[in-house]
């Protein structure tokens, strides 16, 4: 009868042991965390296996007895494991980062700046309105407001032409200066956001060309952000992508049996906006399936073949 042996591998050695824990054969090695992350331990195990032809190999068990062969105390073993796993984990964390995470950060940053700017705009209109409520109406929109107040501070006194403001209390030099500074920072924020948008669009085009074209860069990046990574989005089903961003409604549906959501963030897609209210559910389904196809091509195909034209054409035909 052939003897049964189990192989137990550690980064510090390879052991062939009997099911009772007796060491039949051992080989001291010293694999570095880097070599381990590249899979060198598997090669060594195969090599080691070849020297054990006369034994019947049984599946590996997490045997502890062999640890005593290498380390005097459990304290030493702990320190060795801590050091090895720490190095290995650092390498693995580094390898886990991919370019699509950069897009997600950009998309989230743009979203944050949007929210912030809206808040700041509200504040600046309240503040400025205290001094010159008449000119608020003249300026009108947000971008113009920041621009005028930051670049041309005299405009703050726009209603001085007609003497002192009728309803406002008017601003002195100190007020003017600080409001101008405030508007300058907002303006700077808007500029940064535009730069971020441009960066995001270029990276989308480079990393996920098909998703970027089928779903538009801004929607595509939002989907990536909700999914968490390109890999996760690529493994999602079309029905999941259809309701991404409508989690609240979806779980309400699952829990209480309320109506299921027809669409999540993909509602922002221009084709969805074109579709009539009645067709939106159908359109969302079709669009989600095309987005999923595009994402899968971007993730799995090494040369990221451009199939977006075909997908968009099919979608537009559906809309007719």
């Amino acid at each position: 009868m052939t003897q049964r042996a189990m192989i137990k591998t550690f980064p510090f050695g390879l052991y062939a042991i009997t099911p009772q824990g007796k060491v039949l054969k051992k080989k001291d090695v010293s694999i570095t965390p880097k070599e381990y992350s590249e899979g060198k331990d598997k090669d060594l195990k195969e090599e080691f296996k070849k020297t054990l032809e006369k034994f019947e190999i049984i599946p590996e068990e997490p045997d502890k007895s062999v640890v005593k062969q290498k380390f005097q105390t459990s304290h030493e073993f702990s320190e060795y494991m801590n050091k090895f796993c720490l190095e290995l984990t650092k390498i693995r964390i580094k390898n886990s980062y991919s370019k699509d995470l950069e897009i997600i950060q950009l998309a989230n940053a743009i979203e944050d700046i949007n929210n912030t700017i809206n808040k700041l705009y509200e504040r600046i209109t309240e503040w400025y309105g205290l001094h010159y409520p008449e000119s608020l109406k003249k300026i009108g929109n947000m971008d113009k407001m920041f621009k005028i107040l930051s670049e041309n501070p005299e405009r703050i006194h726009v209603s001085k032409k007609t003497g002192s403001p009728k309803t406002g209390m008017g601003a002195d030099d100190m007020n003017t200066k600080i409001i101008q500074k405030f508007a300058e920072s907002c303006n700077q924020l808007i500029k940064t956001r535009e730069e971020m948008r441009a960066d995001m669009e270029t990276s989308m085009e480079k990393i996920v060309p098909n998703l970027s074209k089928v779903a538009t860069p801004s929607l595509g990046s939002k989907l990536l952000s909700i999914a968490g990574s390109l890999k996760k989005l690529a493994f999602m089903s079309s029905s999941t992508v259809q309701v991404l961003g409508a989690e609240k409604a979806l779980f309400r549906h699952l829990r209480t049996g309320a109506k299921p959501p027809k669409h999540g963030v993909i509602l922002q897609h221009p084709l969805m906006q074109k579709a009539s209210r009645k067709d939106r559910g159908r359109m969302a389904r079709a669009l989600a399936s095309k987005i999923v196809t595009a994402t899968k091509v971007d993730y799995f195909s090494p040369d990221k073949k451009d199939i977006s034209k075909k997908l968009i054409k099919e979608l537009e035909e559906k809309l007719k």
Binding site: P11, E61, P62, D63, S78, N82, L86, T89, R92, R255
Partner: protein, 223 residues
């Protein structure tokens, strides 16, 4: 200050008329998540917040046995950024070892910094479901703790049974909401219990209210 021992390096301390759980700090002078520190006989103890740790909550709820002691080897599945892990690390001390398996790189980043200070932590960036990928790093554990928000968390727990020594204990914190949001939590717990019973002897179970909503913790033994 009135104290009573729970397990090695872990005490109930009567502090300002309130009974708090605390573990002896392995790295005196350093705290992990902003927890308060108490001095008992010139030794530093870190207060264990039951609202932030399911194991801490289970001890507060009076679980039958806390099967960790100094020098133990612990396999911790789903370590996150290391709040509970730090207390387990206190208990096992420098002669023990805690393997921390976690799949998310973001929280692993925090754990790596913790493991640089605590020499008894071994972080492993891997899915707890893929036992094959870390079997050659871990050795037989005295205790397994699992806290992962996965749909098949019971199956993953059973898969990791092979790393538990004979007669060793294991704990699983079951999150009903990540198994099935549509079912009542109690139904989910009963299903998990039935599944666990096939592989382990169930020693105790505790609902973790009011510390955690819709969570239940099972203490099982590998016989």
């Amino acid at each position: 200050m009135k104290v009573s021992r729970v397990v090695d390096n872990c005490l109930w301390i009567l502090n300002k008329k309130r009974k708090v759980l605390a573990t002896k700090n392995l790295t005196p002078g350093k705290t992990v998540y902003g927890e308060p520190v108490l001095k008992v006989k010139n030794k530093e103890y870190r207060v264990w917040n039951p609202n932030r740790s399911k194991l801490g909550a289970a001890i507060h709820k009076g679980i039958k046995k806390i099967p960790i002691n100094q020098g133990n080897i612990v396999l911790y599945l789903g370590s996150a950024s290391g709040t509970t892990v730090s207390h387990v690390s206190d208990i096992v001390g420098s002669s023990g070892l805690v393997y921390c398996v976690e799949i998310a790189p973001r929280v692993m980043r925090d754990l790596v910094f913790l493991a640089e200070e605590r020499k008894n932590l071994a972080p492993i960036l891997e899915s707890a479901a893929l036992t094959k990928n870390y079997e050659n790093l871990v050795v037989q554990a005295d205790f397994i703790f699992q806290d992962i928000a996965q749909k098949d968390q019971a199956r993953i727990f059973i898969k990791n049974k092979r790393f538990l020594k004979k007669g060793g204990y294991a704990m699983i914190a079951v999150k009903a909401r990540s198994i099935d949001v549509t079912k009542k939590p109690q139904t989910v717990f009963d299903e998990v219990e039935k599944e666990l019973r096939k592989h382990f002897k169930i020693i105790d179970k505790k609902r973790l209210e009011p510390f955690e909503k819709d969570h239940s913790l099972f203490l099982v033994k590998n016989e």
